[in-house]
C-alpha cells in the first residue's frame, strides 16, 4: 500500500495534473476542448487535477496543470462552489508582465462561481462556461470554446412543460464614460463594455422533446442597463420604446448600441438516441429583424446534430454477454454547423463585433486596416458564438466507447427540466473508467469573413467615395439596396481536416481518489486557397499526454 500512497502524494504535489486542452493559432490559454460525450465530467467525478504536456510538429510545447474543485458542504444543502485554477508554460506564448519573473509560467483562472441547485431551480453566479443549446460541438449564440464568462444564470422549472433560463453576462466591463456615440469612446481610447442578456423559454410537450425560444440582446456600453434587466420584457419592444422613453424621461434608454438576436433550438430523444439543432437570427436592431429590408442580407446560422448509443440496440438484440458489453457502450455522433456571411459583424454606426477582443479604433474607410489585423480579431476562439465565426461551416463525426456510457449524461446546457427528469433516474457510479474516441472534423472558411469593416462598405466602394450617393436615384440616400443576398460559403478560402484519437484509462484507485492517464493524438491538415491552382496544405501533428487525478 505504501507505493500507491507515495504516488498519490507525488501527483498531488505536482498539482494540477493534467487535462487535455486545445490550442488555436494564437495559443490562447484555457480554450475548452470540444470533446462532447468523451468529456471528463461524469456525475460525481467533478473534481480533478491534471498535469499536461503538449507537443506539435510546429515546435509548440506546453506544460500545463489544472485543478478543478467542486465543493458542496453537506451543511448547506444545495449550495456549492466551483473553482478552477491553472498554470501553463508554453514557448509559443509570451505571458509578459509579472510572469516574466516566473520564466513565462503563467497562472490563470477557469470557472469560478457559486451556485445553488435543486431539482426545480438552479442559480449560478460568477465566471462560468455557458452554452446556448444541447449541441455537442458547436453553438451559435453562446459557445464555451474560449472559456468562462462572468454571468448570473438562473434556470427555473415553471412546470413539467415549461422551464426558463436567464443569463445576464458581462463579456467585458465598461471602462470610461458612457456615450451612445461610441466614436467618442474610441477617440478617448476607452474600452466600452460588452454584455449579452439572454432570456430563454423551453417548452416540453413530452419529457423527451424540448423546443427552446430565446430572445437576447448583445449591447455595448454600461453593463447594467436597467431596461434590459426586466426578465419579462421582449427586447424587440424595449428597443422600439426608445423614442417614447426619450419623450417621457428626457433621455433615451441608452440602447442605441444594441444588437438583437433571436434563437430557436430543440432536442428530441431518449434512451440512447437524440437529435438536436439550433437556429440563430442575428441582426443589428429591431427594424431589420423582420427580414423586410433588402438593404441588408439576412444573417443567420444553423446547427444540426445527433447521437446514437449502443444500448439502444443491445436492449432489443440481446447479443452474447461480451458482445453486449462492447456494443452497448459504443456511441456515434454527428454534427453540422453553418453560418452565413455577415453574422456576428458590426452595425453601420456602432460596433457589434461578436468577439471578445476587437479592433480598438473606429474603422476608418480612408485608412483601412490590414488583413493581418482582421485575422487577429477574427481568430478562432475569439467569437462569443460559433468558434469559426461567420461564413463558415463544419462537420464533426465521432465514434467512441466508454464503459460508463449508460450513466453518462448527454452533453448539454442543463436546462432545468432536464435536471428535473434526470433526478428520477437511477445512478450508479463505475469503479473503473475507460474511454476511447475517434473524432473527425472538416471545416471551411469562406471569403469576406470581415466583421470589423461593415459589410456594405465591403460591397459599396462608392459609398466610401461619396457618402451622399443615391444609387437608385429615388431621392432618398439611405434606402439604396444591394443585390447581395444571404450567402453561405460561395467561395472557400481555407478548409481543414482534423482527426484526433483520444484515450483515457483509470490506473488505480484509493478510496475516492482515482489516478488515470489521458492522451490525444491530433492530426490537422489545413489547406489555403483550396480547389484553386495554387492550393497548399500544411500538416501539423500534436501529441498531448496528461496524468489525471479525479475524486468525488
Amino acid at each position: 500500500m505504501k507505493k500507491p500512497f507515495l504516488l498519490i502524494i507525488l501527483f498531488t504535489l505536482a498539482l494540477p495534473v493534467f487535462g487535455i486542452i486545445d490550442t488555436n493559432d494564437y495559443y490562447d490559454i484555457n480554450l475548452v476542448e470540444k470533446n462532447g460525450t468523451f468529456n471528463f465530467e461524469s456525475y460525481k467525478r467533478s473534481n480533478y487535477s491534471y498535469l499536461f504536456g503538449g507537443f506539435d510538429t510546429n515546435g509548440y510545447t506546453e506544460i500545463l496543470g489544472r485543478m478543478r474543485l467542486n465543493i458542496g458542504p453537506p451543511e448547506l444543502i444545495g449550495f456549492y462552489l466551483v473553482s478552477e485554477i491553472l498554470f501553463s508554460n508554453s514557448d509559443k506564448r509570451d505571458a509578459g508582465g509579472e510572469f516574466e519573473k516566473t520564466g513565462n509560467t503563467m497562472l490563470f483562472y477557469g470557472e469560478a462561481y457559486i451556485g445553488f441547485k435543486n431539482k426545480w431551480t438552479s442559480v449560478k453566479f460568477g465566471f462560468q462556461n455557458l452554452i446556448s443549446s444541447d449541441a455537442i460541438y458547436h453553438r451559435l449564440l453562446l459557445d464555451d470554446y474560449s472559456g468562462p464568462i462572468f454571468a448570473l444564470r438562473w434556470s427555473q422549472l415553471l412546470s413539467r412543460y415549461v422551464d426558463m433560463d436567464f443569463i445576464y453576462s458581462f463579456i467585458r466591463p465598461h471602462q470610461g464614460e458612457w456615450s451612445p456615440n461610441l466614436t467618442t469612446l474610441y477617440k478617448k481610447s476607452e474600452l466600452y463594455g460588452k454584455s449579452l442578456f439572454v432570456k430563454k423559454f423551453n417548452f416540453r410537450p413530452l419529457p423527451w422533446i424540448r423546443i427552446g425560444l430565446s430572445d437576447s440582446v448583445y449591447f455595448l456600453g454600461e453593463n447594467f442597463n436597467i431596461w434590459f434587466m426586466n426578465p419579462f420584457s421582449i427586447y424587440f419592444i424595449t428597443l422600439s420604446l426608445n423614442k417614447f422613453y426619450d419623450e417621457k424621461f428626457g433621455s433615451g434608454l441608452n440602447t442605441g448600441a444594441s444588437d438583437l438576436k433571436i434563437g430557436l433550438d430543440f432536442q428530441i430523444g431518449f434512451n440512447g438516441w437524440r437529435v438536436y439543432g439550433e437556429f440563430l437570427v442575428d441582426d443589428s436592431d429591431a427594424f431589420f429583424l423582420m427580414f423586410k429590408y433588402p438593404i441588408f442580407p439576412n444573417r443567420i446560422g444553423a446547427v444540426l446534430g445527433g447521437e446514437i448509443r449502443g444500448y439502444l440496440f443491445t436492449r432489443y438484440l440481446k447479443p452474447p454477454k461480451v458482445a453486449e458489453f462492447f456494443l452497448k457502450n459504443l456511441y456515434i455522433n454527428f454534427e453540422y454547423a453553418i453560418t452565413s456571411k455577415y453574422v456576428y459583424s458590426r452595425d453601420h454606426v456602432c460596433n457589434y463585433e461578436y468577439v471578445r477582443e476587437e479592433y480598438q479604433k473606429a474603422y476608418d474607410p480612408r485608412n483601412p486596416i490590414s488583413q493581418t489585423e482582421l485575422d487577429r480579431v477574427q481568430r478562432v476562439g475569439n467569437f462569443i458564438g460559433y468558434m469559426y465565426g461567420n461564413n463558415a461551416d463544419s462537420i464533426d463525426i465521432a465514434v467512441g466507447w466508454r464503459n460508463d456510457l449508460e450513466r453518462t449524461k448527454d452533453y448539454g446546457a442543463e436546462y432545468q427540466t432536464d435536471v428535473y427528469y434526470d433526478s428520477f433516474k437511477k445512478k450508479k457510479f463505475v469503479d473503473r473508467l475507460f474511454k476511447f474516441q475517434l473524432h473527425y472534423r472538416h471545416y471551411r472558411l469562406g471569403d469576406e469573413r470581415n466583421i470589423v469593416a461593415p459589410y456594405y462598405m465591403n460591397e459599396h466602394y462608392y459609398y466610401d467615395v461619396d457618402p451622399d450617393l443615391d444609387s437608385d436615384g429615388d431621392g432618398v440616400k439611405d434606402n439604396d439596396t444591394s443585390n447581395r443576398e444571404t450567402e453561405f460559403l460561395r467561395v472557400v478560402l481555407e478548409e481543414g481536416n482534423i482527426f484526433d484519437i483520444n484515450f483515457y484509462s483509470d490506473i488505480f484507485r484509493i478510496t475516492r481518489f482515482v489516478v488515470g492517464i489521458e492522451t490525444k493524438f491530433n492530426f490537422h491538415w489545413r489547406t489555403r486557397l483550396p480547389r484553386t491552382s495554387v492550393e497548399s496544405t500544411d500538416f501539423v501533428f500534436r501529441w498531448e499526454i496528461a496524468s489525471v487525478i479525479t475524486w468525488f
Partner: protein, 140 residues
C-alpha cells in the same frame, strides 16, 4: 455464392462510381494574384477593388468588393500581394487598386485619393502594379 459475389461487386462499383462522380463534380475556383509596388517617395495605403461574377451591371447593383491590404502602410520601395478567388466556370473579372500616400500636413492617409484603371484578370494571371506617382503607374 456467385450471387453474393455479384452483390459485393455491385456495391463496390457503386461506391467507386459515387467517389468518381463526387470528384468530378467538386467545386473549382479561379485564382489570380495581383501585386502592388510602391515606387513613390512616401508611404502608401491601398485597397483592392474587385468586381467579380457576383456584381450586377446596373450602377445601383454594381458590387465593388474591397479587398483589405496585406500590409499597412506599404513602405517606400516595397511590394505586396493579394490573392483573388472567384467562382470556377466564370471567365474574367476586373480589378483595380485604390491608393493614397501619406499626407504630412494632415498626418493622415486617404486610400481613395487615386486609383488605377480596371484590369481584366483571367484564371492563373499574375499582375504587378508599379505605382510611380499619384497618376503614373504601369502593369506587368
Amino acid at each position: 455464392m456467385s450471387m453474393k459475389k455479384n452483390l459485393n461487386l455491385f456495391f463496390i462499383g457503386l461506391i467507386v462510381f459515387a467517389a468518381l462522380c463526387s470528384t468530378g463534380c467538386a467545386v473549382r475556383y479561379n485564382h489570380a494574384r495581383v501585386g502592388i509596388v510602391n515606387n513613390y517617395d512616401k508611404n502608401m495605403v491601398y485597397v483592392g477593388l474587385f468586381i467579380d461574377e457576383q456584381s450586377g451591371d446596373a450602377s445601383g447593383d454594381m458590387i465593388v468588393k474591397v479587398a483589405p491590404p496585406a500590409r499597412r502602410p506599404l513602405p517606400v520601395g516595397e511590394r505586396d500581394y493579394l490573392d483573388l478567388v472567384w467562382g470556377g466556370g466564370y471567365g474574367s473579372v476586373k480589378f483595380a487598386f485604390s491608393f493614397g500616400f501619406y499626407d504630412a500636413s494632415e498626418d493622415s492617409y486617404n486610400v481613395y485619393d487615386c486609383s488605377t484603371d480596371y484590369l481584366e484578370l483571367e484564371e492563373g494571371d499574375e499582375k504587378v502594379f508599379r505605382i510611380d506617382s499619384t497618376d503614373d503607374y504601369f502593369v506587368n
